[in-house]
Amino acid sequence: MATTSVMGGAVKRREDPALIKGYGSFVDDMTPTRVAHVAFLRSPIARAKITKLDTSAAKETEGVVAVYTHDDVSHLGPLLAQVPIGKLRPLLADGEVNHVGEAIAMVVAENRYAAQDAVDAIDVDYDVMTPVIDLKKAKSDEIKVHDELESNVLHTWTYHGYWDALGLEDQTAEVDAAMERDDAVVVSLEMTNQRLIPVAIEPRSVIADWNPGYGSFTIHSSTQVPHALGGAVSKMFGLKSTDVRVIAPEVGGGFGCKLNVYNDEILVAFASQALGRPVKWTETRREAAGATIHGRGWIGTATLVGTKDGEFLGYKLEAIADMGAYTQNFTVAIPLLGLWIASGQYKMPVSWTVDCVVTNTMTTDAYRGAGRPEAIYYLERVIDAYAREIGMDPLDVRVKNFWQPDEFPATMGCGFALDSGDYEGAVEKLKAEAGYEDLLQKREEARAEGRHVGIGIGSYVEVCGFGPAVLAEIGFSWANYGLPASFNGSGIVRVNPDATVTVVIGTGPTGQGHQTTWAQIVGDGLGIPVEDIKVLHGDTREHPMGIGTFGSRSLSVDGAATFEATKKVREKAARIAAHILEASADDIVFEDGGAHVAGSPDKRAEWAQIAKAAYQAHTSPEDLDSGLEAHTTFSPGNATWPFGTHLALVEVDSDTGDVKILDYYAVDDCGNVVSPMIVNGQVHGGIAQGIGQALFEDAVYDEAGNMLTGSLLDYPLPTAADLPSLHLSHTVTPTDVNPMGVKGIGEAGTIGSAHTIVNAVVDALSPLGVKHIDMPLRPKRVWAAIQEASN
């Protein structure tokens, strides 16, 4: 049956049958004729001068086409960065290496095996230097990572000083004064928010094909940002945008790690141009672990000051964030996303300082949540500790300090306004869904039996939907890649002559189901069945402009643009229908797959008729351009601010430190919901990643800068078998930031969950005196914390 009235309908993901059956076309599935293959020599040392780099034996290896080192590519310059604070990454190591995994040489060969053999045949000598790994040591500048930089501290973000133009007030004195009050309760926790490896199921992969005859590139890349990659290639190779076509076909997960333009993409393009043949590289899992960006990597102390009866008086964070060795796209800007939600759902003064330091490790950048999980983790952990200190229920403490529904839009100390919210509404729903009172009772019963059962509460608000054009002033755009300087959304809606619809969007899925959601938006707006709507994305030739999928922006920005474009198409269609039916366009109503005149259901023109008419001059109104298409750009005035509260019930085996999640409840509010199944899928995946951080994942460099977690054997990820069934529900508080009233939901689950789990485990062990355990809460840490508390 045709599906038409579908906004908010639980439509199954249209893309899944092809993907599940293995028909999805990913970059590594493509093998152009005459393709050559790349393997990189990567540094096994964290910090060294390269004293010898001899590629002669590698060049003699059977099947080798070429071997390139820094001198061959230095004319292209370092890799571009959007927020170029720090040292930019050389395409290939320039006489020194600064992290394990840094690319030193590129081998191009007839096949991947020969390429790898040649890599093994490269002769390199290193003069090993002491690396900087520890964040406090990095901050001390005892050893500087890059001589040419003034300090290892690339930048310091402060709550009031991050953007001079806003003229914000420093609230530090207010927070400090609150701590001196007689009735002040001050609670501090020093905590780590550990470094993570994004681990997309599809590794990154790129094929560049330079056609010397046409003087143009076709590049397939597993990227979240084909337009930015196209822009970078145009800029670095001095080409017109029309001579660089970038295609991101199916992309098997990104989580932000494919939101960078990488040196390997540029190098593969270079090799293709140099050799006049297609060149391909697919990263290995080891490269994915050590040469694709990492996320998080913060240490810091969070302090909450409040009264004895639960009123928050102020919050302070002093943290250091690890940037890695080189700056890529947004590296130094990532903590800013956390800064904007530093105060969470609460009304209170904030003092927030994050030092961004360079270390001899892989670059960090956006990973699902990007700055926000860190910020919320620090805040919500210390709120929990404060609630315990004053003996108040953790939900009651939160509710007491929430912004109230009538206070929105609520301008925070960071200068931004929370768009809409009913924070207490989400808590009430959570209490009902989880049966909170019963859970408390159960916990007491379990404790009486000597079991270590805990309830964890985690609230969050997040900022997404980038974004407001004004943010381009502080770097949030793709301007350095030659694209327009703002993160606008765009959508092209075209009704074809046979009444099918082609939708072209400036954002593409890495698993989020754009084919489904966009078809719902357009189908609903036009009354055309979802089955007849094709959503195109990820091809710079099909769409002049695209920002990409990240920061939970697709729906609220590009979706909004598509929504507006759909309206325009409908208006034009109404005029054509009016012409056919000899009526006034104002009287045209769309219903049941066609249009009719209001009040006269039999005066009807089917979509097939309208669509055909649009493409023939003799059947369409004289004053109308031919075709039935609209292209709309949408620039939101604010970000969107989704929120929610989660609850976890856990049990700890005190003999082993093993944590078991018994139950998990989440109430999330992302405004209006276009596609409920997709929203729940996003929350599911997001929570899985948050639980992954809380319990399993840890990207570890040892003191010498060796990566100890370079394979999935050593980097445990949560699997379906490790997770409880999640009880998801929603409240709906629309935003007026966009015409659909929607907010992003891609990262909310991650932002809301890690601290919920940690709060639960600490709750379980609080009767033993445990106050904090750093993530990941592997059994060894939990057990050690129990030992320490009982000694």
Binding site: Y113, P718, T719, A721, D722, K780
Partner: protein, 286 residues
């Protein structure tokens, strides 16, 4: 993740397979451990001898009080065989807790033993259950006791020209029982063992007449915890007796730290799991 060049042979008879083996060759059964190591270029054999097409190696049979598990019996089969569950319980449990469905469907019980990973599940079970390894080369067949089989990390007593064609596990008789339990790297029983233990006991007249306990995950190889067995024999197998005995779990091992456990923690876990496995084995024996 791209192996060096190697020759691949997939003979259809055991004789041909034995013929193909040499100093620089590797047997491949399920390939679950061999292939990743080759891709990481940590193993680079000149020849891979795939035994997957040899008939008759994929059976579980009973013979003279033993069950005989052939070289191509997958974890999934060992895990779900009612016979193994009944007469070699600890081994069935170890198989059921190994990896995920895909790994259990490809990986073999014998392959895991031959691989001798320090954190694998099967070696501890084989030790506690007193299994015997049957190894064949072109020169003949020899039998190796489990207690002589695990030499070091990723090193068994097999010679490069030998195939582990089967293992023989004594069937539990009346009054005997066994068990396996572990703490996995992803918590619960998920993933390789941070620490695991298998136990076998023989109960007579309400007391422990004989016992074997083996550990995995904590040392350089899976090994028997003889002190625990000695201590529990002759007791009534009560919770306290088991706990006291298990306290001696690490007397015979050198504990190795890793990302999942400090020495102190692993020492503690060895005791916890020795006790858990023993208690369960005693429960299973009655």
């Amino acid at each position: 993740m791209y192996p060096r060049e190697f020759d691949y042979v997939a003979p259809s008879s055991l004789d041909e397979a034995l013929e193909a083996l040499g100093d620089d060759s590797k047997v491949m059964a399920g390939g679950m451990s061999l292939l990743p190591l080759m891709k990481m270029r940590l193993f680079s054999p000149a020849v891979v001898v795939d035994i997957g097409r040899i008939g008759g190696l994929d059976t579980i049979e009973e013979s003279n009080g033993d069950i005989v598990i052939g070289a191509l019996v997958r974890h999934a089969t060992t895990a779900t065989s009612p016979l193994v569950a009944q007469v070699a319980t600890g081994l069935a449990t170890a198989a059921s807790l190994t990896g995920d469905v895909q790994v259990r469907n490809r990986g073999t019980t014998c392959g895991s033993l031959a691989h001798a990973d320090v954190a694998a599940d099967q070696p501890a079970a084989a030790l506690a259950l007193g299994a015997t390894m049957v190894a064949q080369s072109s020169e003949g067949t020899r039998e190796i006791a489990a207690s002589d089989f695990f030499v070091d990390a990723l090193t068994s007593a097999l010679q490069p020209n030998e195939i582990l064609t089967s293992i023989r596990v004594p069937k539990h008789q009346a009054g005997e029982g066994s068990a396996y339990d572990k703490l996995g790297r992803r918590g619960g029983r998920s993933d390789y063992a941070i620490a695991g233990a298998a136990a076998w006991v023989k109960m007579e007249g309400g007391s422990v007449a004989d016992a074997r306990v083996a550990l995995t995950g904590v040392g350089t190889k899976a090994s028997l915890a003889n002190a625990v067995a000695d201590a529990v024999i002759g007791t009534d197998g009560s919770e306290q007796a088991v706990k006291d005995a298990a306290a001696r779990a690490t007397e015979d091992v050198t504990i190795i730290e890793d990302l999942y456990g400090t020495e102190e923690y692993k020492t503690h876990l060895a005791k916890v799991y020795a006790a858990r496995a023993l208690s369960q084995a005693i429960a299973n024996a009655s």
